[in-house]
């Protein structure tokens, strides 16, 4: 728009001041982007958060307690259940344990419940057919340097084999890819055949850690949850069934109120930022009162003077925010290499950008408001004579 060069000229009036202010804004939004990514990563720690049409059934007492295999057919028979599968946490350790990843034993049909994980049909079949077969996510395979056909040994931390050996060896038969970048954390998993696990394990045969259920209709979630739990009511293996999202959220909630921590830090950061940019804007406008008066003599309306100053503040913040968010993306990638596989940071995506820029606009309006009003309200005669 035609007034842009005016706003730009105003910012360039004191280059050093503008540069330093933009740098401060930049660091604030760099933090914002980073922390927001970390927060999203924690929310995805349990796995996916897409399946509103999937339920999880675990033991009501504690999800470290096992459930009997007999529940499988009984759950299948519940109306509203499209498919049932099961899984058991294995907790294996790879080599010296420095690169940790979750490993679980799953039923042959497990991947049918996760169509959003893309794996060639041939590999799915190989998993079903290979007793010692294992499937991993693309991210994990890349990080470990694994290829299809590799033999991968894991040390058991919970489940030794019947002979007393702690070493379980698997054949990598499948690698899947998750297209949604926010759920790419799911590629960090190691899945293998439950049958192999159940046969060879020292204790706990015939029990599973959890059931995964696919609903025919997501809107019937509550009814199906209750029906499934009713199956085991008053037995020695009472269950608790909830949506995958609720399950993951509860798990993350136990770790920390990440939202609170991130929110508090960003609160402190943005408070400081408002003070800093507010000061800059106040200074800038104070210096330019005579110029704003001249604009008014030329015939610029009060509203346009107000808008010019506000736009200056918003532009200042928008520039700093954009660079900061961009750097946050780079920083997130750098941090990822340091923390390894334990936590997968999603890239700084469209949502973060939108949130960040909206925040920049709001802060710009807040810090620009008083100076803009001052400019709007100046009395031409007084301002020109230097009063």
């Amino acid at each position: 728009m035609k007034y842009l060069h005016l706003i730009w000229a105003a910012l360039l009036r004191r280059k050093a001041r503008t540069v330093f202010t933009i740098l401060s804004v930049l660091t604030a939004f760099l933090l914002f982007g980073l922390l927001d990514t970390v927060r999203t990563a924690f929310n995805n720690v349990g796995g996916n958060v897409s399946g509103a049409d999937r339920l999880v059934t675990v033991s009501k007492i504690s999800f470290t307690m096992a459930l009997p295999m007999s529940l499988n057919t009984r759950i299948q028979a519940v109306p509203g259940v499209a498919a049932v599968s099961y899984a058991n946490w294995f907790g294996g350790q790879y080599q010296d344990g420095r690169d940790f990843f979750p490993s679980q034993a799953v039923a042959k049909n497990f991947f049918d419940l996760y169509p959003e994980w893309q794996m060639p049909a041939a590999q799915r079949k190989a998993f079903r057919d290979t007793r010692t077969g294992a499937v991993v996510g693309e991210n994990l395979a890349k990080r470990m340097g694994w290829k299809i056909g590799d033999k991968i040994p894991l040390q058991a931390t919970i489940f030794p084999q019947k002979g007393g050996s702690n070493t379980w060896v698997f054949d990598l038969v499948g690698i899947y890819h998750v297209s949604n970048p926010e759920q790419r954390g799911n590629e960090n998993n190691f899945w293998f055949n439950y049958d192999y696990f159940d046969e060879a394990r020292q204790f706990g045969q015939g029990s599973v850690g959890r059931y995964a259920i696919k609903l025919t209709d997501p809107k019937q979630a509550t009814a199906v949850e209750q029906a499934i739990d009713a199956l085991s009511a008053d037995s020695d293996h009472e269950t608790k069934t909830e949506t995958e999202q609720a399950f993951t959220a509860a798990l993350v909630g136990q770790f920390a109120d990440i939202g609170l921590i991130v929110g508090s830090i960003m609160g402190a950061v943005f408070f400081t930022l408002v003070l800093l940019t507010g000061n800059t804007m106040a200074q800038a406008v104070r210096e330019r009162i005579p110029e704003l008066a001249v604009l008014k003599t030329i015939g610029f309306s009060r509203r346009s003077v107000l808008t010019l100053v506000l736009a200056e503040a918003v532009l200042l913040l928008a520039i700093g925010a954009s660079i900061g968010l961009f750097l946050a993306g780079i920083a997130a990638a750098a941090v990822q290499t340091q923390i390894g596989t334990q936590l997968v940071l999603p890239p700084v995506g469209a949502t973060e950008w939108l949130r960040g820029l909206a925040l920049a606009a709001v802060i710009g309006i807040i810090v620009g408001f008083l100076p803009a009003r001052r400019g709007m309200r100046l009395r031409i005669v007084d301002a020109l004579s230097g009063r």
Binding site: F20, K60, Q155, D236, T272
Partner: protein, 441 residues
């Protein structure tokens, strides 16, 4: 022209020499040395002529701060924010680590199945537990029984008071000798549980976190009713646990006679090596042996390291932002005092006193900001209790610990920011051509 450049260089060197290097050194000194240095510098300022020059220039500068309240508050608040966030996060890490470290000592050892790393993953059969408690390095009680407690660690799901949502609480089945093993455990309410019964006692922090486990209440575990008969305080991370009889909990969780670990009291701390060697040489068992100190230290390391890294990264980024804010403010400060500075220099003050005065002013503002930030962190966060998911996949309650070392660290960061943010404006003040400044009059 050349003479001007030379004197500028001299002023810059003076700034660096007189000020930056000493302050940088000071930041790495222990506090008593710092105090001595500050006393020395104060004496220098008060007693030498050059020093008095610097003081008078500084006084002029500081007297104009009320006119520059906005810019000055940017420095103070910016630095306060950095220090507050940094100290808070580091206090979180410190508190978590300390809580867990206090739980272990060198007199007791813990034995788990080889490779399990944490009690929750470990499964020991009854024979192994017996074998461990019969080792010769295990201390015996007054009636000749080995002070060894086979313990079973499981996880129960109870609603948290704060959120109403279910969270994991650690349930520990302890053996009869557990009280000899841990003499620090006090029963604060009610009584101990009776072996053979479905009775529990709740740790102080577990009671605070979870609903429905006050002494006298009942809990339903696996369709069985359990009674909470008392509360205990152990002064360490066991306070986040529920305790009961190993055998009864074992049957409730269908674990038969197997346990997670055996914790023993050693005859002497030095006996640990022999204890470990003996068990690892024994072909009948496959176990990992460590002192409780090193076990609990390891448990806390991962999480506290992550928090420390997070705190340092966040603090560093905020600090950079604060530096730019300080640069802005101090450049503005120098600009508004162009006239005064030029007059001083025209009168005959050399560049150095001006540089020093700007630096002192910045450092004072930084110190104020650091003190406010540290004070805030201490006031709000010291002993603030929080809980997180520990290594046994259950809630561990800990308190933030704002230690004097952390506060001093925070102040050091503040001073460093002030140093960096004030140096260039100070040099600019010294280098301003006198004539340009006087023209402002």
């Amino acid at each position: 022209m050349k003479r001007g450049a030379a004197s500028q260089l001299r002023n810059s060197a003076a700034a660096v020499g007189y000020f930056v290097i000493p302050v940088a050194i000071v930041l790495f000194s222990p506090w008593w040395l710092l105090l001595a240095i500050v006393a020395g510098v104060a004496a220098l300022l008060a007693l030498t002529r050059a020093g008095r020059q610097m003081l008078s220039v500084t006084r002029i500068g500081i007297s104009t701060i009320p006119q520059r309240l906005g810019a000055s508050s940017v420095v103070v608040v910016g630095i306060a924010g950095v220090v507050a966030v940094l100290v808070a996060l580091l206090a979180m890490a410190q508190g978590f680590q300390q809580t867990l470290r206090e739980t272990g000592n060198d007199e007791t050892a813990i034995v788990m199945r080889a490779g399990s790393q944490t009690e929750l993953n470990s499964v020991l059969d009854h024979d192994t537990a017996v074998l461990v408690s019969q080792a010769s390095q295990v201390m015996h009680g007054p009636r000749g029984q080995p002070i060894a407690s086979p313990e079973l660690v499981v996880v129960a799901s109870l609603p948290k008071k704060a959120t109403g949502l279910d969270a994991n609480v650690e349930l520990r089945g302890v053996g009869e000798r557990a009280w000899d093993l841990r003499p620090n455990v006090q029963i604060t309410v009610g009584r101990k549980f009776r072996p053979g019964l479905r009775e529990l006692i709740a740790g102080k922090d577990a009671q605070r976190q979870f609903a429905g486990i006050e002494p006298g209440s009942t809990v339903k575990l696996n369709e069985q009713v359990w009674t909470v008969v008392g509360g205990f305080d152990s002064g360490d991370s066991h306070n986040s646990e529920l305790w009961g009889d190993t055998d009864i909990i074992g049957s409730a969780y269908r674990r038969g006679s197997s346990t997670s670990s055996v914790t023993v009291r050693l005859t002497t701390p030095e006996a640990f090596d022999a204890f470990k060697a003996a068990l690892q040489a024994d072909k009948r068992v496959q176990v990992d042996v460590s002192t409780t100190r090193s076990y609990y230290n390891a448990q806390s390391d991962t999480i506290s390291t992550i928090i420390r890294i997070l705190g340092t990264v966040v603090g560093a980024i905020m600090a950079i932002g604060a530096v730019f804010g300080a640069l802005n403010s101090m450049y503005a400060a120098v600009a508004t005092r162009t006239r005064e500075i030029a007059t001083l220099r025209a009168i005959g003050f050399r560049g150095t006193p001006v540089v020093v005065s700007v630096m002192i002013e910045t450092l004072l503002l930084a110190l104020l900001g650091g003190a406010i930030g540290a004070g805030l962190a201490w006031a709000i966060f010291d002993n603030y209790t929080a809980s997180t998911l520990g290594s046994n996949f259950s809630q561990v309650v800990f308190a933030f610990r704002v230690t004097p070392e952390l506060l001093w660290d925070g102040l050091k960061w503040a001073l460093t920011i002030g140093l960096v943010g004030g140096l260039f404006p100070a040099l600019r003040a010294a280098r301003q051509p006198v004539t340009a400044g006087l023209r402002e009059l």
